[in-house]
Chain length 184, copies 2
């Protein structure tokens, strides 16, 4: 951020009075521009014994497999956002069962939500951000070609929980070791 | 938003190519300025049979009672933010047990997290955003003077769950009726 979105003049990084951390503050109109983490919301879509995955058509991790998910929009709930992203990325309709996994990724200022749900029919296909959309049995999951750790963790929990037919809500903080890349 | 935070020139509300909703887009450098919901994170602090509440020193709902909570910051987890807010608003130290309630408030683009936890000692007091901080037994809770519906719901769940000594995670969407004010 270089300019004030309210008056167009220069901003500077400074600690406002009564605050304890640096903010972008307008040197002209004194507006404080807060920056906050963003929510990414998606689904774990199930059809009988198979899970739906999307091959990413965009960076980061172009060509890797992911669950349908994306940035939550203003005016919607986390569940509505998850259902919307499932349609946008996989052209799939889903009946949500429950919130299943929630991850904090503080180094990239993101909080991930995944809802477990069931596809309402067999129709699906790639939206503009996907190269392919496919259903996978557990033994077919491309574990080495998954896009993000949150995808791997959610799928691992699901296949373990399915054996018990019990799907408790889980939350975890994913802190990246300093010497490892984000995507590993 | 009136001006581009990257180049300081005018922005306009328009639907970017490939998108399906209006965004603030810079007419000069074409930067798209996304706006997303924000997370508010806090705690339900317990000391034996009592719950800690803060009387708000700021608007909205100045003078009403709340649980310590505030906007999640970049670089922290939802749990770390909740612990930080408990210190900032109530000068209280807390050992978190678990995430307890999660609320979507889509009409004001907010998602609320409350963590259940135990005060680690009897020391507490008002931070700059609180007028008073007090411990309340269930029969002392000022139900008519609570600041927000998310506070009322979290406290109601807690006192009901305490009878069973079982505190399941709960999530709920709070949709405001069109003819009712937000705070009622």
């Amino acid at each position: 951020m270089k300019f004030c979105s309210q008056c167009g003049k220069d901003v500077a990084l400074t600690i406002p009075e009564g605050d304890d951390r640096e903010r972008h503050v307008c040197l002209h109109c004194s507006t404080i521009h807060y920056q906050n983490p963003r929510i990414i919301t998606g689904t774990l879509p199930i059809l009988e014994d198979r899970v739906l995955l999307c091959k990413r058509a965009i960076e980061p991790r172009h060509g890797f497999w992911t669950l349908p998910a994306g940035f939550m929009e203003n005016g919607e709930t986390t569940e509505q956002g998850a259902v919307r992203e499932t349609w946008e990325e996989a052209r799939a309709k889903i009946k949500v069962d429950a919130l299943y996994t929630l991850f904090n990724l503080p180094q990239i200022n993101q909080v991930y939500f995944f809802y477990r749900g069931t596809l309402t029919d067999i129709n699906f296909g790639p939206g503009p951000e996907s190269l392919e959309v496919e259903l996978f049995y557990e033994h077919e999951i491309p574990w080495q070609e998954l896009a993000f750790p949150v995808i791997t963790e959610t799928l691992q929990h699901y296949f373990a929980d399915r054996k018990e037919n019990n799907f408790p809500f889980r939350t975890k903080d994913l802190i990246r070791p300093l010497n490892k890349p984000l995507i590993s």
